[in-house]
Point group: C3
Chain length 414, copies 3
């Protein structure tokens, strides 16, 4: 069992040396993707500082509603405490440590099934009748998780004390989420893509489209931006950028008319906002590019745009005029990452007529392809022959992610 | 691979510090339930000193009968060597180490199937014809396991040298086993409940009934003692104790009329004997409380009593007028424990009319519930939020078990 | 993660002490069969120096043919590069480390499916258009594996630099392979026998026939040599040797008329060549002992002989007049070894009439039995009671193998 103590002295020095010798602009050495002690370190130091979108408000609309989720390998309970807001706790009783609930239901209090200890929705221990002397009821409340609702999304993070302030990110993101109507949405579909690879390999793949031509024929065919992002072709890229500028001049709302990329320092939330046309005559990201659901939020007509947002370092959204997709990248183990995609539509969208197949087509086919190529990547990285390789210009966001990771990890263990 | 050497110096000091900082009356810190190195230490030092009931004599009644069992992760053979008594060995050939047998059968000798080396039922190597020079036949007998038959039960323990003397425990237990007719019993049913949790969590649960009300509705409804053991209610407890005293005055046989609780020091066997009425008008622990099999042993009528025995630290018996249940708690890994329940009835009980469903009802439903709540307990203990919690007054036996474990482990590594 | 550095100082000294205290003529202590750190050391130092037969030329006859195999836990690609000969590579792209191919097909170049980087069949990177500054195309060729074709067999080894010279072994083996017609053969059948045991246990079993009488009734009954190799019987052994001498005088071709056993030093290939009659009136190793396929190579009639060859330390061949069997022992993990048997017949053998059941009978039934007894051996070796035992005279080759292993490992870590 890795303990903090074992990370002193020699190991810390060894890890610092490993961090220090990584070649800028090249992929990481093997241990970053395979070594359980590095994963344990990330689990101890890195993940608990990250906000990630964990739920949509429509999943627990009433006071007493609760849901159970996995957050970085920890089972958590998120509850709607009514006027007391949303609260989140580790699913661990403070008596003998039992899991408190498995089911998602509505309940006036949280009661552990083992010995029936009860807790308020805000976490305090209700009854202390059997408490032995020396046990302080006030210290036996549930273990809290950081939680924050914004624009219909519920963000969580493990360590309340070390979580960065969400406010600067929300200054940019919240108007965009509102414009896209996230607060008045419902979940149309959610799918999980468990991927047997380290979370960093999964993100490196997500951050570049250099692989789109060989690996994603459907995505390549149906998205205008790949002319600039999937192939090194300066003429095509300039043409695309010109088109984006022209489109932007007529269409984009103020809340969305920004290009923000905030990589974020160790004490900051990463966020970004970018808007561009889907292109190729497509109104939205449905299978045929035609409208598929009621317009969301403040949109009054189809402008064919896509708003891409980084919501922290591990959740993302792709937003269209009539739907949105949230991506969560959930590390589950040193070589296991769950990718979850959630499709949102307007709350008034008629479930009877919504074509889920068309709605999910693009990101379902693409994420399945990503799972396969990432797992092949992981297979090669496991080899004793694996060596870091160079990121090309089209993989610059992957290179930036790796550089940022190295810089922050260096400071966390430094 | 953990070796004894690796337990010197630093680790030993670290473990001693861990032992020393456990808060009396509170559950253990996480490593005791999860850390494979602590489990390896227990496997090296703690388990081999424990006697546990491994079989009933009816399982190997004739000379040459053998059975194969798992004892603390070690496969062992128990044989009936006739006038030479019962013997037990590791299932390991002394030639190249092969498993000697998989099947339970009758055989005049033990012959390894690999190269046909033969051994007497008492363990000595039979033929040494092919032995190379320098190999001493007398040193190539089978590796022995401690074994002792008492009152129809076969106790085993791994380390003959460090096993404590069973005699003091048997002074108390043997008359009770005889009164209950264990020596003239047969096995009516055996069921395994593999439980994914550390063995200490399983025992902590077994040692308290504070959880009976929320977790065991059937047990709670059908057993009189829960009024005193499941709820902090001084009036109900006094009433129960009064009833027990009154019952005891008329009914209990001398062999059973004792209240013995011997927790046992490092060099002693833990044992206990306690007898009380089932209560609530029930004659025996069948589904409906009515007689279910012939009276056993020295009983001449139903007195509605239950004799509870601790047979060492890992096996237990619940004995009624017409049947008995043996519980074995078999650690299989740091987070895997097999709970085995064996129902005994009189050897003359008619298999054609015995209602197995009724016989097993109470402990089957209760042990299945225990498996679920213990596994939920283990799930919570795995969390980074888990902290030791306080045992209440109704969990005093669990607290005593933990205190005794800490004390003995401290001396074993000290 | 075990790194070379962690093998300095203490561990190295500990391992040297472990090597040094092994008792000559007795089986190894438990850690050699179970300890993942020793297996990691073997994987780092021992396996990469070994040549092993990986394929037959008939598996990739044309330029561009490629096959994908596992070699010591590493996925490799073997390609036929036409006039450039055979080449072999780790299945790892030099860009980001992706697996390059899963399928066995024909292809003009090797193209990674992730980002479409292409490589020549001889390994060089084809296009470097997107390469960033500082990345040298010449250094981004595929990672090579040692490969050598001889007599129809394709030998591979991981470390080109440390692989010993195959030439001395081939001086003896190649004429025999040619006489047996390996170069003009095809694969009639291939079967895998995944065996849950350390590779050394598997080889120790393969190297002795002391177990043949109790464990292999069919083999025992159908092979003349077991009179001398399965039982300590000097009269029977002398009689068998006399028969072999008489047989040898009339029948054996010059290429086969040699008894060579070269155990091999650290920098040498192990090889051996031995020829004897099957005996008992059998022409070949078919089920009934009668001819089963066209005569192979230079044979003009059935002489009832068997040529046994050691082709390095991990592959072997048993060759008859009309077929041959290649055995590969592929370590897959500390307690997992894949045994692969491949039956070769003459390229002109008619698939329509070849009786695969009869062809494979002897080695299929025997290898299945070996899997079972080796796994039982592994089960016993896992016990805390396991101790090294003495090899008998009939297990001398197993003892030699172990002695050679200890000597070479001592020098590799020394």
């Amino acid at each position: 069992m890795l303990t903090k103590q074992e990370w002193t002295a020699d190991r810390r020095a060894g890890f610092a040396a490993l961090l220090g010798r990584q070649r800028p602009g090249w992929s990481l050495e093997q241990p970053f993707y395979l070594d359980p002690t590095i994963y344990a370190l990330e689990r101890e130091l890195w993940f608990p500082r990250q906000w990630i979108v964990m739920a949509h408000v429509s999943e627990l609309p009433r006071r007493g509603d609760r849901i159970v989720r996995d957050l970085f390998g920890e089972e958590i309970i998120i509850v709607n405490a009514g006027t007391d807001g949303f609260h989140a706790f580790y699913n661990v009783c403070t008596h003998r440590g039992s899991r408190i609930c498995r089911d998602e239901t509505r309940t006036p209090n949280l009661v552990c099934p083992y010995h029936a200890w009860g807790f308020r929705l805000t976490g305090e221990l209700l009854s202390g009748r059997d408490l032995p002397e020396g046990a302080d009821k006030a210290e036996l409340g549930l273990h809290r998780i950081g939680v924050r609702e914004a624009g219909g999304l519920i963000f969580c993070g493990l360590d309340e004390e070390s979580l960065p302030d969400l406010a600067p990110a929300l200054d940019t993101l919240l108007p965009a989420l509102r414009h896209h109507g996230f607060h008045n949405a419902r979940i149309a579909e959610r799918r999980s893509y468990p991927t047997s690879a380290n979370w960093k390999l999964v993100l490196e793949n997500f951050f570049e489209c250099y692989h789109c031509r060989p690996s994603h024929p459907e995505y390549f065919r149906m998205n205008g931006h790949v002319a600039a992002t999937a192939v090194s072709d300066e003429v095509a890229a300039a043409e695309w950028e010109g088109g984006v500028s022209a489109w932007r001049e007529q269409a984009v709302a103020p809340a969305l008319d920004r290009v923000v990329r905030h990589a974020g320092d160790i004490d900051e939330v990463k966020y970004s906002l970018y808007r561009q046309p889907i292109g190729l005559g497509r109104d939205t990201q449905s299978h045929d590019g035609k409208p598929i659901a009621p317009l969301m939020g403040d949109f009054t007509h189809y402008d064919g745009g896509e708003t891409a947002m980084h919501l922290g370092r591990l959740s993302f959204a792709g937003c269209y005029n009539d739907h949105a997709v949230i991506f969560q990248f959930m590390p589950r183990g040193v070589e296991e990452t769950n990718v979850v995609a959630t499709w949102l539509v307007d709350a008034d969208a008629d479930p009877g007529t919504l074509d889920i197949g068309s709605l999910t087509f693009m990101w379902d086919v693409t994420t399945k392809q990503d799972k396969r190529i990432i797992e092949d990547n992981a297979a090669g990285v496991r080899s004793r022959a694996y060596r870091p390789g160079p990121y090309t210009a089209l993989e610059s966001q992957s290179a930036s992610f790796v550089a940022s990771y190295l810089e922050i990890m260096g400071r966390l263990v430094g």
